[in-house]
Amino acid sequence: MDPAQVLETLKHGAVPTAWYLALSAVLFVIGVAGFILRRNIITVFMCIELMLNAVNLSFIAFAHEHKQVAGHLFTFFVMVVAAAEAAVGLAIILTVFRNRSTLNIDEIESLKN
């Protein structure tokens, strides 16, 4: 895109949809990378939440692009489900911590042959 043209659209308050999608993709990849690389369970869980929110951003951007309200509704569903998942997930993390006194994912490896 021509820089002058970009500046023009930005002046009118409209960020191109592709920018949102790029941001969303970057956030998603950060989430995936964090999930794989981080060792603290809480951080890993936060990375999953980041992935879901990246998806939400995509939904909103696409809804804007298609001029539809459906995409906005989907983000509500995703948020509700993410909240339910957080409630259950934190409870699971809590029981793990109570029984083992560690939150390092590498130390939780008693299940093997």
Binding site: F35, L52, V55, S58, H66, E85, G89
Partner: protein, 486 residues
């Protein structure tokens, strides 16, 4: 004119199975404080009643097929087949857990309520016509399953199973959802039939569609435990309480394959060429990794976990063939797989003892002498898992490989058959230990079968046998239902 939001009678009927299951589950949580101490078995009975009511509702809904709730849901033969399948699995899961919960002194109300909620989510997945409904059904099922996997919360193995299942399950959900978002972006809809129309039109960006399909395959691959996304399965099936493992290895997997089939046979059918090679590789990897890793296992639950990965591989072969015969074969195999796996796990539940101390293969030693009836039933399930004629497993494999050959997937069929031969080795080891070794301490001290477990063993055994001798009834139902979206 304002839209009419009052559901019609057909809408209510087509959504009835889920309504019954959720109402019964909620009722249990309300009754918990009054009855959980005095009548722990009551909740199991109530849940079986609810499952039978939901089963009848699913059959009734099939009498009035069509879309419901502004095309969000669809009731057709395919949805009914999978609703009946997951509800049946739910019934067996309840039968097999009466004695187990009693032995472990665990709360019964929450357990049965969670099973009901999980099955309601799986019914919803089977009957969805919208990617967002699929997502919600999947999450209802998954969130309940996460809790179930860690149900005995003072047990370290349960904690670990729940944690791994939760983290990898939510990770997979993220991928699936990103795929949904991209599909919505490309087509402007999340309804499967509208996506099909939009993708069939000329000028669709194949690259974007392929990315979306790949993301959804990753997400669904985790849920069906297809390699290379299988690493959670052995840990979770080993760590979770045995009746929960039996449930997790069958019901969520059947429902996940149902949405896998529905999404890829209806919505993505116009761009099939972009995803067939991915499925080919995934099928081969799952069969090979599952079978070869199972060879060296000493823990029965973990071995069944690896074997379930291999079975997911066989079903993926049927999906790769992309034909109605393939869909029929996958549906039939899922039914056979569910019955034989529930049965095999029921024997593990019977053997395990308090705190699940006896779950090694060596603990089965001498079962043939001490409890010939239990041993005979396990033999039926093991033979079916191998794929010996006269069992459901044989016809399941037969149809799958025939579908692969008819779609010119000759190499995949050959490699799959070689894999089945490898699998025979570790399954037969169970029979050798059971019949040819002297009784172990575990079998010496074994209690007789309880009525609940007996039901969860005998009925699946009869089912496995019927599928192996008279497959026609189930097969015809599956074949009539396999033309999804037509």
């Amino acid at each position: 004119m304002p839209a009419n939001f009052t559901p019609s009678n057909s809408d209510l009927l087509r959504f009835l199975p889920e309504t019954i299951l959720i109402a019964a589950g909620t009722l249990m949580m309300v009754l918990d404080p009054f009855l959980s101490k005095s009548k722990p078995k009551f909740f199991g009975h109530l849940s079986i009643l609810a499952f039978i009511a939901a089963l009848l509702a699913a059959v009734a809904a099939n009498g009035d097929p069509g879309f419901a709730y502004s095309n969000l849901l669809i009731v057709d033969g395919f949805a009914t087949y999978f609703r009946i399948l997951v509800i049946t699995i739910g019934i067996f899961a309840v039968f097999s857990s009466y004695h187990y919960l009693d032995r472990e002194k665990a709360e019964t109300s929450e357990y049965h309520a969670l099973i009901l909620f999980a099955v309601s989510g799986q019914c919803l997945m089977a009957a969805s016509n919208d990617l967002i409904m699929i997502f919600i059904g999947l999450e209802i099922s998954s969130i309940a399953s996460y809790v179930l996997a860690g149900y005995l919360r003072h047990d370290k193995r349960n904690n670990e199973a729940a944690l791994k299942y939760f983290l990898l399950g939510s990770f997979a959900t993220g991928f699936l959802l990103y795929g949904v978002a991209l599909v919505y972006g490309i087509t402007g809809s999340t309804k499967l039939n509208e996506i099909h129309t939009a993708l069939a039109a000329p000028g669709v960006s194949l690259v974007m569609v392929s990315v979306a399909a790949a993301l959804m395959i990753i997400g669904l691959g985790f849920k069906v435990s297809g390699a290379p996304f299988q690493m959670w399965a052995p840990d979770v099936y080993q760590g979770a309480p045995a009746p929960v493992s039996a449930f997790l290895a069958t019901a969520p997997k059947a429902a996940a394959f149902a949405i896998f089939l529905r999404i890829f046979v209806t919505a993505f059918q116009p761009v099939a060429s972009s995803w067939e090679p991915i499925l080919w590789v995934m099928a081969l990897l799952s069969m090979t990794i599952g079978n070869f890793a199972a060879l060296t296992q000493t823990n029965v639950k973990r071995m069944l976990g690896y074997s379930s990965i291999a079975h997911a591989g066989y079903i993926l072969v049927a999906l790769t063939s992309r034909s109605e015969i393939g869909t029929t074969a996958a549906m039939f195999y899922l039914a056979a797989y569910a019955l034989m796996n529930i049965g095999a796990f029921a024997v593990v539940i019977h053997m395990a003892g308090k705190g699940e101390t006896n779950v090694q293969i060596s603990d089965l030693a001498g079962l043939g002498k001490k409890q010939p009836f239990t041993a005979a039933l396990l033999t039926i399930f093991v033979l079916s898992l191998i794929g010996v004629p006269l069992t459901g497993g044989f016809f399941g494999k037969f149809y799958i490989f025939r579908a692969a050959l008819e779609s010119n997937l000759v190499w995949l069929a050959i490699l799959g058959l070689l894999n089945s031969a490898v699998a025979a080795y570790y399954y037969l080891r169970l029979l050798v230990v059971m019949y040819m070794h002297d009784p172990s301490e575990a079998t010496e001290a074994l209690e007789p079968l309880t009525p609940g477990l007996r039901t969860a063993l005998v009925l699946p055994a009869i089912g496995t046998f019927i599928l192996g001798v008279l497959p026609g009834f189930v097969l015809n139902f599956a074949r009539d239902a396999a033309g999804i979206g037509k």
